[in-house]
């Protein structure tokens, strides 16, 4: 979806203006990505501290995946930057994470064994996408011409409680 298409939706253009952050594909920028998104969204008083924590974690997970995908696609210092785009309007935050990574099929990810199964302890990874799904109100994993766009929506007041 392009910026101008967004502008035609139900919210006024003035409140839908976008903040865009381009970051080197390195783990040490994650704290900055969290700071920016939470800093922007905290300007909307409808968002509680708890909801800002949800946002911070989901954004961090998506950025982590973007950075890792990017480094797999272009190992070392040659990896291009990742981009975080965020806008807030009337109690809703939308965040997109763009990468130039390898792409993936989120439906093909195998679920973990149930937590009561001792084999659960064999899995240290694989909680990022589940957390994103649990913490956001909506998420889309869109293939782009260069990699993946993870587009998340966060309502200040959740319609549903996590999954």
């Amino acid at each position: 979806m392009t910026r101008s298409e967004r502008g035609t939706s139900d919210h006024s253009a003035a409140t839908r203006e976008i903040v865009e952050l381009e970051l080197p594909a390195r783990p040490d920028v994650l704290a900055l990505a969290r700071l920016v998104v939470a800093g922007l969204v905290s300007g909307d008083p409808d968002f509680t501290d708890e909801r800002l924590d949800d946002l911070r974690l989901a954004v961090s997970e998506a950025c982590t995946n973007a950075i890792e995908a990017q480094q797999r696609a272009a190992p070392g210092r040659s990896a291009p930057p990742i981009t975080v785009r965020c806008w807030v309007s009337a109690g809703r935050a939308e965040v997109e994470i763009h990468d130039n990574g390898t792409g993936f099929d989120p439906r093909a990810l195998a679920p973990h064994p149930p937590v009561t199964d001792p084999a659960r302890l064999d899995f240290e990874g694989g909680l990022g996408i589940p957390l994103i799904r649990l913490l956001s109100d909506n998420v889309e994993f869109r293939p782009s011409h260069s990699g993946t766009i993870v587009a998340m929506t966060f309502e200040a007041r959740r319609a549903r409680s996590g999954q």
């Binding site: 704290a31 982590t64 899995f123 990874g125």
Partner: protein, 112 residues
Amino acid sequence: MDLRLDVSERDGWAVLAVGGEVDVATAPRLREKLIELVNDGHHQIVVDLGAVEFLDSTGLGVLVGALKRVRTHDGDLALVCTESRVLKIFEITGLTKVFAIHGSVDEAVAAG
């Protein structure tokens, strides 16, 4: 960057107090410290998350891996966590059923 790790002992348990932000940038240091403790013969470990301001899935994974490691030595790993922002992450991922989570180090050691 901003991760603090402090080791102490209490009644035969190794207590690892973690502070700051645990994400994919800092989790390797947490993992190394836990492996080091196990390699040094500490198989009863309390990880005190009281001063943790941020914890991501990598951090959860490190704790799962450490639990598995102490269990293979017939040991145990207990967590101390009271902050609702951190507790919530264990709850929504179901990991409250995997870890023993206590309100204080004293409680964790007494329960162990």
